[in-house]
Amino acid sequence: MATPAEQLPPGWAAEWLTWNATETATGRTQWEPPAPQGGVAPYADNAPTGSPPPAHHHAKRRQYAAGQTQAYYGGGGEAILDPGYLAGQADSTWGSAALYAWQTHAAPGVAQPQYYAPTTEPEYINQPGYGQQQPATYGQPVDNLANQFGGMGIAGQKGFQLYTTNLLTSPPDPRDLQIPPPEIRLPPNSCISPSPTANSDPSYQRCTLNAIPTASSLLGKAKIPLALILTPYRSLKEGDEPVPVITDTVIARCRRCRTYINPYVQFIDGGNRWRCCMCNMTNEVPQLFDWDQVRNQPGDRWARAELNHSVVEFVAPTEYMVRPPQPAVYIFLIDVSNTAVQSGMVATATRTIKENLDRIPDEDGRTKVAIICFDTSLYFFSLPQGTTEASMLVVSDIDDVFLPKPNDLLVNLAEARESMENLLDKIGNMFQENSIIGSALGPALQAGFKLMSPIGGKIMVLSSSLPSAGAGGLLQAAVPFYKTFAIECSRAQVSVDMFLFSSAYQDVATLACLPHYTSGQTYYYPAFNAGRAEDAIKFAHEFGEVLAMPIMLEAVMRVRASRGLRMSSFHGNFFVRSTDLLAMPAVPLDQSYAIEIQIEETINTPFVVFQTAVLHTTCYGERRIRVVTMALPTTSSLSEVFASADQVAIATFFANKAVERSLTHKLEDARDLVQKSLIDILIAYKTSMTSGGAGASAQLAISENLKMLPVLTLGLLKNVGVRQSTQIPPDLRAYAQALLTSLPSQLLIPYLYPTFYSLHNMPPEAGEIGEHGVILPPPLPLTSERLERHGLYLIEDGQTMFLWVGRDAVPQLVADVFDLPSYDALRGGKTTLRKIREMRRGPYYPHLYIVKEDGEPPLRLWALSALIQDRADVLPSYQQFISTLKEKVSST
């Protein structure tokens, strides 16, 4: 797309040059994932001096093969078995062996992306010293190594440095959003593993504060909410390390608090016992813990995955089952009323199901499927074994739903594959002439539920009209059916996914209740029309992804934390079954949950541990426990609390909080709540961290790491789900709210703060495959000041993409991108371009809209509403927002 410079109008090149010059000043290459200061170089420097290498290295997503790990520990077996082994004695031998090991595999890591500066925490050299006292205070200089690092410009051991920024003078830079959260600096010796994967990656679990205040009064002073944001079942992208699975069913857990053994426990008594990192209980190490059951020989304890990885999966023995692992069950409820058929939804859906039959997880051949169609009656399809012909059974008594046949309705996918394909081919034609209008969604749900309730599984609802007949008819407002039905579903391990297509009002808010409490997801395609290829592709792609998703079945999730911390409230798609147990009948990939944490008593330990355990059945019939452990240091200093705050996690939490508030109160209250929380943080920062103290001051101060929080908050306030406007259809709002509470941070942040690229003047290397995949052009701040008349811009929030074409776009540019002769030939609206790539997690397939600068006003306005730093109607611009904040802060 790089247009040769000579073809440009004169002003174009000049603009490019000026832009380029200004950006170079700030380091134009920064839009690549920020390079660590110092990178790997320190190792090279350190190695010859013989000082121990830093053992902990976050986010270097490097595979730790068992062999390597063993080498790394320098055959530590005997040292571990001998309690009297002194750290000092070990130094010489261990040091050299392990150092060597480190060098050998540190080298290939040089080229890898590094998101964190290396820390100087747990040094394996001190490892064998079991009973060693931990340094009482976190943050004291450990050894000269730390100082060395400090001298090299790498963040030293000495706590977090707090850098104050003035929000009035530093406009938000979207590149800052890619900076990883403040590094977790654990006190030395807190982790028994030197592995870089011993603490959880932020994409699995992150906390709004990476240093936990020791007392709730300190937290109260900082005003920053304390919450965990977790996505325990995250998808693995290319290059991600798969979650290690522990197959020998030796599961060491604390007797008292039931914590799973993790890299933060301590081994005592010569390794015969371990001390729980949460409740300090001493536990026996299971007998088979050091036994390699695969090779039937003594194994190396230190190579065990649960002691080296923060995210592991245990294969659960029968004690963890209430029944044998269930097969995956999918029931499709397809709306075949007139509107649904006319929109082409039925045809697209059946075709997509048919095309994706292979992708439905069915490794062990046990997966069961059923199809029920509904308009104002229910149509069941019986697929008896031995024939490929399906017979249709109509039930028109929807007041008292019954199954017309006890068997052959829910069939084994592998066995009935052929008849299923046949049936899917025919459904479209069968209802081609259906003129019935109305939807008995409620009875259809009841029928699906009856069919699968002995097993549990997933109901996928495809509906394109407002439910009108039978139970759950929504012609009158506030029907409790969906909530009570959701509870029944959760009990029977049934999860519901909603795919909604209506062009008229469909009451998404009420229908979304069902996925919300059964850990499903709502997908909404307003005014779906399969006649438009883009609509069909979007739906087919997303539906296909959902079908192919390897879901977790019959899951329960519990988060445990060190003494003094309590999970106080939960946000996300699940049913809270007890004070701290979340029931999730089927966990989809990449769904995010937020949990508020309360500090109940003063914390005396140097670090705290959060452990999420998800007991689930994989869709391949295996009972497993996924355990995500995260350790965070504690702090008693307010400046460290501020310096360790994670703006992305806070914004994610705000989104959840705002939606929760809008459900119980008015939407306005939700906005006020978010804005007030932000102002509280700013006030707290001003009074305690700046010299000004209370009263008016010329600046609006916040720490460097929270710099983007105001603009993210503004993005949230301007998001469709929360925005102040009377023109947003309630269905769109409800859908946006469902997204706000379930998207993982990686997707949510662009949803709040869209990415804005300028495509006509990209740096030359953009678009090429670089070290970290495709090199993207630098994101621009979201303001229309950046729009030039001859430009081409991409605005993207993960759900929609806008390609903005300026009115003076060069013909060559139009020709290159759209294959059209000139700007005038270009038509605005939904289109598909072949050049789109999806890099984010999640099943979403954004629509692409081409927006002409002088095109249709609604589309133009919509695209411009994504530029959240601008003023739009009553919504303030970023400058106005900041000055309102400043006024509020100064007035206290």
């Binding site: 506030a478 909530k483 009990r491 409230s569 049913f575 809270v576 007890s578 004070t579």
Partner: protein, 136 residues
């Protein structure tokens, strides 16, 4: 019939309501310590919500019919509170929200407990006063 008998009835009646509230309190603390799951809890408690409101309203009605103005006025605030809840349709316990709203439910239950306890002694006092007055 005399006011003495009315208040005797009220004393027994409020004792019954008192026990009802104790039952609610116990159930909530059971939920907190995970002895009962929220679905069962809500199913169980929801059976008693309207009867309790009704019983209280009936008592207030009796006072009104007998012209016991002080006793009636004493009951008016709670009557209005209950009526408002029913009117807004949020009187039932919702299993999906119960953990979020548990503190407020507990507070409400404790408050009602205290109210019925005070009522109990007040009616007892009024009964004695009425009986003494009848005998005198």
């Amino acid at each position: 019939m005399g006011a003495g008998w009315l208040f005797l009835f009220a004393v027994l009646y409020s004792a019954g309501l008192l026990f009802g509230m104790v039952f609610f309190v116990i159930m909530f603390s059971d939920l907190e310590s995970d002895y009962i799951n929220p679905i069962d809890l809500c199913n169980k408690l929801n059976q008693f919500v309207l009867p309790e409101y009704g019983a209280h309203a009936f008592l207030a009605l009796l006072f009104l019919l007998w012209g016991q103005w002080t006793a009636f006025l004493w009951n008016v605030p709670l009557l209005a509170y209950n009526g408002n809840k029913v009117f807004n349709k949020n009187h039932m316990y919702d299993a999906t929200e119960i953990f979020r709203t548990l503190p407020s439910h507990q507070k409400e239950t404790y408050f009602k407990l205290a109210f019925y306890l005070l009522s109990f002694f007040y009616y007892l006092y009024r009964m004695i006063v009425a009986l003494v007055a009848e005998n005198a």
